[in-house]
């Protein structure tokens, strides 16, 4: 699974952090750090984190499109 967080949009609401703590973490008080290539076992957590973001800054590719086969 691949994700990217648009750090320009991210305002540090941190709604995503408790929903996917292994993937999205706060660095200091408001800077978000994330794992761009989380394990597929985190799928549900990532989907919830994406939905929780008030500014929709998290972009996730939960399933690869047909023409992308390599990890």
């Amino acid at each position: 699974m691949r994700i990217v967080v648009d750090l320009n949009r991210c305002l540090g609401y941190a709604q995503c952090v408790p929903l996917a703590p292994e993937v999205l973490q706060l660095q200091g008080e408001e800077a978000l750090a994330y794992d761009p290539n989380p394990d597929d076992s985190q799928r549900q957590q990532v989907a919830r984190a994406v939905a929780s973001c008030p500014v929709q800054a998290i972009i996730a590719e939960l399933d690869p499109p047909a023409d992308r086969t390599t990890k």
């Binding site: 691949r2 994700i3 990217v4 648009d6 750090l7 320009n8 949009r9 660095q27 750090a33 994330y34 794992d35 761009p36 290539n37 929709q56 972009i59 996730a60 590719e61 690869p64 499109p65 047909a66 023409d67 992308r68 390599t70």
Partner: protein, 366 residues
């Protein structure tokens, strides 16, 4: 606006049979390709990139990757849709033949195009002294290979890291070094950190934060020379205030240089500041005339900026390349984000090109 049936027919034909070549396989190139397919382009799409890697996200390289949480190869960009492109990765474009409409590649191949998108971006500025640049232990940070090498060097616990330049990347790297418990010196020519992008007031606050975090920040100094040991590994740095610093790792964080060399001789308005284009991302030629079939996106695009009295500027920021949410504006009922160059370029690519001049409208066909 009513489209003439003849024009509509040509657009339909181009969308089905046209050949679009994108030079640059990073964020702008990828998002442009996705936008093209979203707009209904089903013709041939070729993406050329000098790095062997699939498009990846660069911002994590100076943060999570350097710190060691995320491996350097794990920042590949999410794909928004299938793009069915012909990928030419690991081979740089070396020339542009506009007469024959071909991109020349480093391996001698020629890739023909009907429309071209230039998205070759920037590279990090190399150390100014070519002899010293060969020293082991001297790094720059732009690509994921750079990040992998620098991470390995930091993992070896150097006694002191010297970062030259306190811009965003330099400051982030200093932060990572402190997180890793490494001694780090930052040499900055201006009066504080981040003065260039954020100004003196915020710069002073940033400098205080860095010093409080244990960064040895030295302002108002330049690094004049690097000295290596017998094995060719950097060991000392000579500062302009006369200080000689013992260092094991030096990172040159000196800003970026635009990748325009391959356009030499193509007679486009390309130079130090980027490739000039209009608000619709169409490139200008050297006479200042807008081209019909060449477009520019991402870091290298230098177009009129609405917030700065339409000065021509290149915005080296991920936002200018379109971070990748095609529905971003649409869901709020707004037109597409204007700073997202790549989707804009892609939209133009599949529409008839129009020139409006002194009240007389001329339609240039694809």
């Amino acid at each position: 606006m009513i489209t003439h049936p003849l024009v509509a027919d040509l657009v339909r034909t181009f969308k089905a049979q046209g050949r679009i070549v994108i030079v640059g396989a990073s964020l702008a190139g990828l998002r442009a390709a996705e936008a093209l397919r979203d707009e209904g382009f089903t013709g041939s799409l070729t993406i050329i990139g000098d790095e062997v890697h699939q498009p990846y996200d660069r911002p994590p390289l100076s943060k999570q990757v350097l710190k060691g949480w995320v491996p350097a190869g794990n920042t590949k960009l999410p794909r928004m849709r299938a793009i069915d492109a012909d990928w030419r990765l690991g081979v740089a474009a070396t020339g542009l033949d506009r007469d024959n409409r071909e991109v020349l590649l480093a391996n001698g191949d020629k890739v023909p195009y009907d429309r071209l998108l230039i998205a070759t971006g920037v590279r990090s500025r190399a150390w100014f002294n070519p002899e010293e640049a060969k020293l082991k232990g001297l790094f720059t940070l732009r690509t994921c290979d750079d990040a992998a090498e620098l991470h390995a060097a930091l993992k070896a616990r150097p006694k002191r890291v010297l970062i030259v330049g306190a811009g965003f990347i330099g400051s982030e790297m200093a932060s990572v070094c402190r997180d890793l418990g490494l001694d780090v010196t930052v040499a900055e020519r201006s009066s504080a950190s981040l003065v260039g992008p954020l100004g003196g007031v915020i710069g002073d606050i940033a400098a205080k934060m860095q010093r409080d975090a244990g960064v040895d920040l030295r302002t108002g100094v330049a690094v004049e020379a690097l000295k290596g040991d017998a094995g060719g590994h950097v060991r000392q740095a000579q500062l302009s205030d006369g200080t000689l610093l013992d260092v094991d790792v030096v990172v040159a964080s000196l800003g970026s240089v635009r990748n325009i060399e391959w356009l030499e001789g193509a007679e486009l308005a390309a130079g130090f500041w980027g490739v000039a284009c209009d608000a619709g991302c169409r490139a200008f030629d050297i006479n200042g005339v807008v081209t019909d079939n060449i477009f520019v996106a991402g870091d290298i695009a230098r177009g009129p900026h609405v917030l700065y009295e339409y000065q021509f500027m290149a915005i080296e920021h991920v936002d200018a390349a379109g971070t990748g949410r095609p529905d971003r504006g649409a869901q709020h009922g707004q037109p597409r984000d204007r700073t997202s160059c790549a989707p804009a370029a892609a939209a133009v690519l599949v529409r008839p090109v129009r020139r409006e001049h002194q009240g007389c409208r001329r339609v240039l066909l694809p």
